[in-house]
Symmetry: C2
Subunit: 205 residues, 2 copies
């Protein structure tokens, strides 16, 4: 693209640096902003300008928060002795939306990935062990994604948690609700049949 304005080009570069946004899409976004009222765009700019200072990471679990400790960690009605370890705050949002979990979380901020140069020390792993040491923890749920890196991290954490005598669980994996069996992948179907449940339990919400 041969763009006639270096400022337009600069704005396109910024948008195109975001994941999943190419140069053409970026141009469309900038043109959309240019058509808008200037104040609207200035508010957008202001939000970005204060992003890092306003949005904090919870000092306890790593969840995103406006305060030092997030809403989940300060909630007394939750069971603070069950810690669910997740990769990313999006996983917290996903689990919270099921309304089936009332423990607390710990966000690793990624998974171990030697290919990308991410080792255990680059993740919030030490703070997890500090939490387990200083607080009464009965159960740790390893809820990382089932990618190669997620499974590696699960296994790494399992090996380090085992000696502490805490109960370690992981998410049940199986065929999704509503999947037609002949379309299901072999791994999920295999786990569904291996870990089959008494009929009544399988229908419990």
């Amino acid at each position: 693209m041969n763009i006639s304005s270096k400022y337009l080009e600069e704005a396109i570069e910024h948008f195109a640096s975001l994941p999943g946004i190419g140069k053409r899409t970026a141009l469309r976004l900038v043109l959309n902003l240019l058509k808008r009222d200037e104040n609207n765009v200035k508010r957008f700019a202001d939000t970005l300008n204060h992003l890092h200072e306003r949005i904090k990471s919870c000092k306890k679990c790593g969840n995103i928060s406006d305060k030092d400790i997030c809403g989940i960690c300060t909630q007394n009605s939750r069971n603070h002795s069950i810690i669910c370890v997740v990769e990313d705050i999006r996983d917290i949002l996903a689990i919270e939306s099921t309304e089936q979990f009332f423990g607390v979380y710990h966000v690793l901020g990624g998974v171990i990935s030697p290919m990308d140069g991410i080792g255990p020390n680059d993740l919030n792993i030490n703070s997890l062990f500090e939490r387990i040491e200083n607080e009464t923890t009965e159960e740790v749920i390893l809820a990382l994604n089932s990618s190669m890196e997620g499974e590696t991290t699960n296994f790494y954490l399992y090996k380090k948690l085992e000696p502490l005598g805490v109960k370690i669980t992981t998410l049940l994996k199986g065929v999704s609700v509503g999947t037609e069996l002949h379309y299901a992948d072999e791994l999920s179907l295999g786990r569904s049949i291996l870990n089959r449940l008494p009929f009544e339990l399988g229908f419990k919400k």
Copy 2:
């Protein structure tokens, strides 16, 4: 999504207001920005903050420009008596990238669309006629998209340009290069066969 930070929510709202970006994608974009260096995001914010004052619209043709008159309008080597009328600056970029046109442009900024409440007065139509009146114009190319609204606008302009005695042309429409004929739409294939060319001409670049 039940988000734990009102500032995060605000940032998501801004990104999700852009065309083609939903709330989940917006969240992914904001999380990506949060992982970056603060200064990088501040530069992004600065670009947005000055967007409207820095990026101008060429006073002659409506193209985007850093100056009052754009690079195309100031270029002496171009043929200023041929004006190509387009809907949007993206169309200028597309035509420029073909390196086959050496006239100048006029950006309407949209097309006549009664459904969206856009009439001829909401577009840069008057300035087009001022240009034709004040400058020597030999040819006006109507290069609007072949949507219903684009064709309506083409026809409206044609009717108003006809009495001025200027040559009015439009883009040739036909089957795209590389299309298999049995996949081509009927309208394009129909025009390709109606407006068939002498064999040698059809292969000219």
